[in-house]
Symmetry: none
Subunit: 416 residues, 2 copies
């Protein structure tokens, strides 16, 4: 089964918003055996929308449309859908209930514009929107599908997960496509490629199997893709390729698929009943932010200090004034003192610290922008590692946070 994704919205055409919906939808449709072979973006313009609908629906088994379902004058997808299917709008009582409930919970009055959000094209199955006011439309016609969802990513994802994907799981398409992503960090793409060696010997020359290297600032991802007819055979192939990759690069593989480094670290801390506290300077709270993104993190994350000023480093973490004077705030000695200070003060098993020059100013020849020290302290040792990140301010923060969490992971599982 092939599909085209159509995104509607002027904000996409002027480059104001990067389209993340298309990649998400394509990946999820792949998982239920639907292959996207075309993606189109058009503006809030009825003739253009209708032209895209006609072209897509005439050449594809499924069309997935997002965007333009909101309450204001520039949201015209719903009326275009009505024209396309030569139907009209009807009130959906459940959608209206949903709108009213949402506004009640927010303690806001429901306006006429809001109530109109409960109008849907006659003849579709209504996909309710648990995160917003615009319902989605699911048309099935002559074994073909026409699916319309809001452009707000969270609302679209809610409908994909709550309705579209379950539908195709119950009504399988006969083809199975599976992806598996293994995540590495702390190794360059070319070095990882050398470590892994001959890709053909890993894929067994199977044309339905591919391996892709995907570099990013957080590390290089390895993506295995397998297409086939039987789920069990496809999953077995994924499993075999993964095993070969693990045999060659296990040390660098910290997680798979959607799992992030903070989940892995959190899982190990939970299993071992260990606690952590963080003292951040250059990362400015990003490590704490990532650690607390994990549900249940309050079980192991005790506290963090964002000690930006020298005063706060001394007062909160007992960093000796002499260290700051002699070695400077960005130094091995201060990183170690911060990690030790936060651990002992918070009475946790692990203390983690960062101090560096995020830029764009504040660098010198001796200590350039991007110089970072990451400190780690547990009952047995207190150490610090030096990094040089050649990036802009945000990127330095991101790469430092990633390297700090990876340091904790490696210490926990005794990789050095």
């Amino acid at each position: 089964m092939n599909a085209e994704i159509i995104s509607v919205g002027d904000e996409l055409l002027i480059g104001q918003v990067i389209n993340t919906n298309q990649a998400y939808i394509a990946e999820k449709l792949n998982a239920v055996g639907i292959f996207v072979d075309r993606m189109t973006t058009v503006g809030d313009n009825e003739p253009e929308i209708l032209r895209a609908f006609e072209s897509a629906f005439s050449s594809h088994d499924a069309v997935v449309v997002t965007g333009g379902l909101g309450p204001t004058h520039d949201d015209i997808t719903r009326s275009a859908v009505c024209k396309f299917f030569q139907t009209n709008l009807v009130h959906d009582p459940e959608a209206l209930r949903n709108v009213k409930e949402l506004f009640e919970r927010r303690k806001l009055a429901v306006t006429k514009l809001n109530e109109d959000q409960a109008l849907v094209p006659r003849g579709c199955t209504v996909m309710q929107n648990s995160l917003g006011t615009a319902p989605g439309h699911f048309f099935e016609k002559d074994k073909k599908f026409f699916i319309v969802m809001p452009g707000v990513p969270s609302e679209m994802k809610g409908m994909m997960e709550g309705f579209v994907l379950p539908y195709f799981e119950k009504n399988p398409t006969g083809v199975v496509i599976r992806h598996r992503t293994l995540k590495t960090t702390g190794i360059a793409e070319s070095h990882l490629a050398e470590q892994i060696g001959d890709v053909k010997s890993i894929l067994d020359d199977d044309s339905g199997t591919t391996l892709a290297f995907l570099p990013s600032p957080m590390g290089v991802k390895l993506r295995i893709t397998v297409r086939g007819k039987k789920l069990s055979a496809v999953e077995e192939r994924i499993h075999n390729v993964e095993a070969k990759l693990r045999a060659r690069a296990q040390k660098y593989l910290y997680a798979a698929d959607d799992e992030e480094l903070e989940h892995v670290v959190g899982r190990i801390l939970t299993e071992r009943k260990l606690t952590i506290a963080v003292a951040e300077s250059c990362t400015g709270g990003l490590i704490a932010d990532r650690l607390t993104d994990v549900p249940g993190s309050s079980n192991y994350f005790e506290r963090a200090m964002i000690t930006y000023s020298n005063d706060s480093k001394m007062a909160e973490l007992s960093v000796p004034a002499s260290f700051l004077e002699k070695f400077g705030a960005v130094s091995r000695e201060v990183a170690e003192a911060m990690a030790f200070g936060i651990r002992t003060k918070s009475n946790t098993d692990i203390g983690l610290s960062t101090t560096g020059i995020a830029g764009p100013t504040g660098g010198s020849d001796e200590k350039p922008v991007g110089l970072v020290w990451i400190g780690y302290s547990d009952r047995h040792e207190t150490i610090a590692l030096r990094f040089n990140f050649l990036n802009d301010r945000r990127r330095v923060k991101e790469r430092t946070a990633q390297a700090a969490l990876e340091l904790v992971r490696r210490k926990l599982i005794k990789i050095t």
Copy 2:
């Protein structure tokens, strides 16, 4: 002049890579008066590529193609371009020099595959690639343009900035397009629409001017777009529409274009020589992370405490144990005590705090997931505001951080 962007690559169709090229190209073309009204993505498949070329070139003044110019078997854009223009490949000596130089610098041997990268379609102007081996192709035919660039973002950007944009600056299209985005927060889209009222009266029924409402979890953006022939007239229209919007919704407008709330808050704090410290519970460091994303934030951001545990709230912020017992950690009293505690401890002008139930667990009937108290303290007052965010964990953190920074902004400029 209108344009279509065509992206070529299987990696885009399976959702492996998010397409950031389209947004970049669209924004840059807008700036030289070229309006993108359609974006298309197709796979590494010749019939699909040719179909997209034909459809785009027949209905647009300019077509911009990226991707599929690499050296391996799945890169077929170049041969499709030759078929489309019924031409053949010729060697470009400068491109060959570039390939050889690149490999010399990397101390690698040049293979036949690499040398073939210097083959270009006869009849195009060659755009050299300073960052990679694949040259770009620039066709001008009957006042129409067909531009082909690599898919690697840095290489594509190099060609846009080095060749495409300078070309259209030297050969102006006669049209000027300008955008202006005004950002609001703390008001629902429908309420903002009511506040603003009749859109037509704001736009003066000018067909070259549009106003879009763009909702996001951080707030609703208002985007003004003006197309015209003279830059001065276009800018004046933008200015007039902006003034009318400001007259109707000034209170909610916190920034324009690329400026974020943390920049606005940082600018006001800097101007007034004020300092801030933050005590975060449910936001887990996100407010500190945002504040420290701003270069120079060390001038006003003194420290933050991420006090996740009750112990840390008492020890670090002097929150009375009796408050935690009697009112619970998520309460007005604790939010106020946290804001007051961090301000007095850090000796800053402002103290800001958050405490809430980020979820997915930990909620109750009385205190559901998404309940948040935000505390604010300065020399004159200590207050807390209650919010209910109906979202997932990350979204609750994001919306809380945004509402907290907005509270500071409003207090600083005396909006209540």
